[in-house]
Assembly symmetry: C2
Homo-oligomer: 150 residues x 2
């Protein structure tokens, strides 16, 4: 659900109208997707996120605020006095998992002498397939089409 269920801002971007450009305005800044990665992995504390991403602390603070404002991250107080917070993903944030996974898959395929990202499903370990599929016929939909709106 869109946060607060008001109509969405429908941000305009320069160049080709395309939702990928809008998405990149939010999560395309440096460190943002690594922060989301940590949150997807269940890391919730400022210091831990800073360590695990390598982001400078001031950038991390700024990104977390921006992501919170965008409705991707939720900040929960786990202690008054001293004020302490932990960070959680919203539904929108969790929906970024395919983006992070696709990046990881591409990276392990093309950048590293390693097997592609593995997926530990119940009792087996296997590679992933990040190809998007058509919801109508289930076949791979791996070529881009220009955005059809307006």
């Amino acid at each position: 659900m869109a946060q607060t269920e008001t109509t969405k801002p429908n941000p305009t971007v320069p160049g080709r109208p395309c939702p990928a450009a809008g998405a990149l305005r939010l999560v395309g800044e440096k460190w943002s997707l690594l922060i989301v990665r940590e949150l997807l992995l269940g890391v919730r504390r400022f210091d831990a996120i800073a360590r695990n991403t390598g982001a400078p602390r001031d950038r991390l603070a700024a990104r977390l605020r921006a992501l919170e404002e965008a409705g991707v991250v939720e900040r929960r107080a786990y202690s008054e006095r001293p004020p302490r917070h932990e960070y959680h993903l919203t539904d929108a944030g969790r929906d970024l998992a395919p983006v992070v996974t696709a990046l990881a898959h591409w990276g392990s395929t093309w950048l590293y002498d390693e097997p592609p990202v593995v997926f530990h499903h119940r009792d087996h370990v296997a590679a992933l397939d990040t190809t998007p599929t058509c919801t109508a016929c289930g076949s791979p939909a791996d070529h881009l089409t220009p955005h059809p709106h307006s």
Copy 2:
């Protein structure tokens, strides 16, 4: 195939060892993924890419060179005198399609009052599913696992 088939550089990243971080070093810079989007759509000329992405011309030139060096983009001369080039994706570059598609899907779902990115397959128009799947059992693999190497 990895360009020149030498062993890959295996770049190290600060923080958690994760191929997503390596991928973001290359394509996480501003404009890079929008450039890849244009190339996926078949746009090959400098000026057209600049218009369609909104990127400043000097940044576009820098990103194209970086992507070329990384083996994501190939620059082909289509005219000597004056030297003119057009840009194509390598196999590695085309493999970024799932990343761009996942971003577009997320953007249209959470940022716009629009139906999610559509896919024009042969004779039907339908939404996409960007959830990665397990190659072994075919089930959705939408939770992240820490990278198991080293």
